[in-house]
């Protein structure tokens, strides 16, 4: 069944390209899912330490297999080796963080460089072995797709499916632990176990992705999709779906792009496609994007002018600033001859009432957070609850605002 599925995906580029495309897509989905909780738990860099710590394991596994008389390039053997040292690296980071006063970033820096350094030394040793010349272990550094076998795709598929399944089953406790570990612990969620499960999934994705993307760049497949997804949603469940989708799409498109010319490196191109998604998200996201922020600023400017204009209306003063006049006209608050419309008078009354409410709110609500976020223009109903507003109105006394019908 898998082979027919693969055949269906063989668009034009042949068997090997199809294997790579499927593998990269599955890896992208798994990486997006696993990276999502890593991102939410604010431990993204641990994955980099884990990835770099795979190198000595790959080398040790190769040396062992050669000395035992086998083929040093057996992928399953190499991946088991990489998982072993990756796990050791992970435990070391955890141990240093818990047993000493060093922070996690210091532990990550130490583990990452030491394990990677050891791996490079072992790699050099392997070069001097008779079998070592054609070992091709350098491919694990940046990934290589040239000789991708069916078996390799199966390993990625199985590893990706298992890790994604674990994420789906544990998504609720993982969300809880990422958001509020103390509350999670209090309700009986085994916080440490959940953290270990999360890191194990990350390790699994890293190990199965080694051959394709390489240990230096695998971290991007874990982190960038969820960072991109964060621009599009304020909900963690959707974050997971979007991260998985963009990760998978980046894998698929990256493979397609790298197939367009000979010798284009697949792994780095997947990273670049991921970065393209990130750039688009950062610029165009309607909520958190750069463009949206710019437009919000422009709207704020308009709101400030309208607020000024309405305050003038309420006080019966003339609006002098031309820009304010223009905006008041286009909002329908004043006529061409600067006389207030009915709509303008109502809006002016509301402005004055809200100003009075805010002034009272500052006296009776001792909550710095409200006033820190108060921009002077947001409707009070959007910031305070009904009972809070009721309190304020009660404190204000007469519900009618002090507005004289404003003329031009």
């Amino acid at each position: 069944m898998l082979s027919t599925f693969l055949d269906a995906l063989t668009l034009q580029a042949g068997y090997n390209a199809a294997l790579v495309a499927v593998g990269a897509t599955l890896l992208g989905v798994a990486g997006g899912c696993a990276g999502c909780f890593l991102f939410l738990r604010k431990r993204t860099l641990v994955s980099d330490a884990v990835a770099h710590a795979t190198l000595p394991g790959v080398c040790i596994a190769f040396i062992l297999m050669v000395f035992l008389g086998g083929d040093g390039r057996n992928l399953v053997g190499l991946l088991i080796g990489s998982a072993a040292t990756a796990g050791l690296g992970l435990l070391t980071v955890d141990w240093i963080t818990r047993k000493t006063r060093l922070s996690e970033d210091a532990a990550i820096g130490a583990v990452l460089s030491v394990f990677f350094g050891l791996g490079v030394v072992l790699l050099t040793v392997i070069q001097t072995l008779s079998h070592g010349k054609q070992a091709g272990l350098e491919g694990f550094l940046l990934g290589s797709t040239a000789g991708m076998l069916f078996q390799d795709a199966v390993i990625i598929a199985v590893g990706g499916a298992v890790s994604t399944a674990i994420i789906l089953v544990l998504r609720r406790p993982m969300t809880l632990v990422a958001f509020d570990p103390e509350y999670a612990g209090a309700t009986g969620v085994p916080v440490r176990f959940i953290d270990i499960a999360m890191m194990s999934v990350v390790m699994m994705v890293t190990v199965v992705g080694l051959k394709l993307v390489g240990l230096i760049l695998i971290v991007s497949s874990l982190i960038i999709p969820s960072v991109s997804a964060r621009f599009w949603t304020d909900r963690s469940d959707r974050l997971l779906v979007i991260a998985a989708a963009t990760g998978g799409l980046a894998g698929y498109l990256g493979t397609a792009v790298s197939a367009t010319a000979p010798n284009l490196p697949t792994g780095p191109i997947i990273v670049l496609v991921n970065f393209a998604f990130f750039s688009i998200s950062m610029l165009l996201s309607p909520k958190r994007g750069v463009l949206a922020a710019f437009l919000r600023h422009r709207k704020f400017q308009v709101d400030v002018h309208l607020h000024q204009g309405l305050t003038s209306l309420a006080r019966g003063e003339a609006i002098r600033e031309p820009l304010t006049r223009k905006m008041m006209r286009s909002a329908g608050y004043i006529r061409e001859d600067l006389v207030a419309t009915g709509k303008g008078r109502a809006a002016a009354a509301k402005t004055v009432l809200d100003e009075a409410r805010w002034a009272k709110a500052r006296q009776i609500i001792q909550d710095e957070a409200i006033f820190a976020s108060y921009d002077g223009l947001t409707p009070i109903e959007a910031v305070l609850t009904r009972d809070q507003i009721r309190d304020i109105d009660a404190a204000l006394g007469a519900p009618a605002p002090l507005v004289s019908p404003a003329g031009g």
């Binding site: 939410l40 604010k42 089953v169 544990l170 609720r172 406790p173 969300t175 809880l176 990422a178 958001f179 509020d180 103390e182 509350y183 612990g185 209090a186 309700t187 009986g188 964060r230 949603t233 304020d234 909900r235 963690s236 469940d237 974050l239 009776i364 609500i365 001792q366 909550d367 710095e368 957070a369 409200i370 976020s373 910031v383 305070l384 609850t385 009904r386 009972d387 809070q388 309190d391």
Partner: protein, 275 residues
């Protein structure tokens, strides 16, 4: 007041709750009982050898000066931070077996407010335990979420990202999440810290409602002026337990003096509404 625990019980309790609990008459009759609780960072105890008994359907305040270990005590009771010794019992049974019956409201500062989650999602977290790992969120769960938000006056804010709320509103959402757990024992860490008056009233109304339903409420509380109004039982801590009992008989000038040492001027104590 509690019966003093015997050393034998403390040993047995820390040995895996196999002790003869019948000897401790306060245990089964209490909503929460703590025996011989010590927490220490290094060799400096943060709370030391505390026995405490919270009566059922009471509202209990935990008071004490800054650094007295109030929050540490609560967290250690819940097992969020490791205990050096001691055990906690809910309805006479080891707390670890009774987590379903406990709702905890942590301090607001403990979470990242930019986390991608909406108000209703946070309240739904209170139902995760009953949902299990794979259970679908059904209309009944959504209804429950909104009901809990309604009780704290936050239903209009259900679809906001939590970072867009004010401090008091965030506290109300945390309380709504605890309500969604349908627990019998509510443990709150400084629920009134840094909230506005309307929120304080909303929270105390909910808590008094819980007590009226026969549930037990325990708050770490910092405002001595409101202890007599809000609570009927008090636990006074300063690393060690200074006193516990009904507010009317325990929350007295001499006890406050002992709890706070020189940090509380006698004029301040006189201003408190003490009986």
């Amino acid at each position: 007041m509690t019966t003093n625990t015997l050393p034998a019980l403390e040993l047995a309790a820390s040995d895996g709750h196999t002790g003869d609990m019948n000897r401790d008459t306060g245990l089964a009759a209490s909503a929460l009982a703590v025996r011989g609780l010590t927490v220490s960072y290094g060799t400096k105890p943060a709370v030391f050898s505390i026995d405490a008994t919270v009566p059922k359907a009471s509202m209990t305040a935990i008071v004490g000066p800054n650094g007295a270990g109030k929050s540490t005590f609560l967290k250690a009771v819940l097992g969020i931070i490791p205990r050096l010794s001691g055990a906690a019992y809910v309805d006479g049974k080891p707390l670890e077996t009774m987590r379903r019956a406990i709702a905890y409201v942590p301090q607001r500062a403990s979470v990242d407010w930019d986390f991608p989650t909406r108000v209703r999602d946070v309240v739904t977290m209170g139902q995760f335990r009953s949902l299990g790992l794979l259970g679908f969120i059904r209309p009944a769960h959504r209804k429950k979420t909104l009901e809990c938000l309604e009780r704290v006056g936050m239903a209009d804010f259900a679809d906001r990202q939590i970072g867009q709320l004010s401090g008091g509103q965030q506290q109300r959402v945390f309380l709504a999440r605890a309500l969604a757990q349908d627990a019998g024992l509510y443990l709150l860490d400084e629920p009134f810290a840094g909230v506005d008056a309307a929120t304080e009233k909303a929270i105390i109304d909910v808590l008094k409602g819980l007590k009226a339903e026969g549930k037990t409420v325990v708050c770490v509380h910092h405002d001595l002026a409101t202890v007599s109004d809000y609570f009927d039982h008090v636990l006074m801590l300063n690393i060690r337990k200074i006193a516990e009992g009904p507010v009317t008989t325990t929350f007295t000038g001499p006890m406050l003096q002992e709890t706070y040492g020189g940090r509380l001027a006698t004029t301040h104590i006189d201003q408190l509404k003490l009986d």
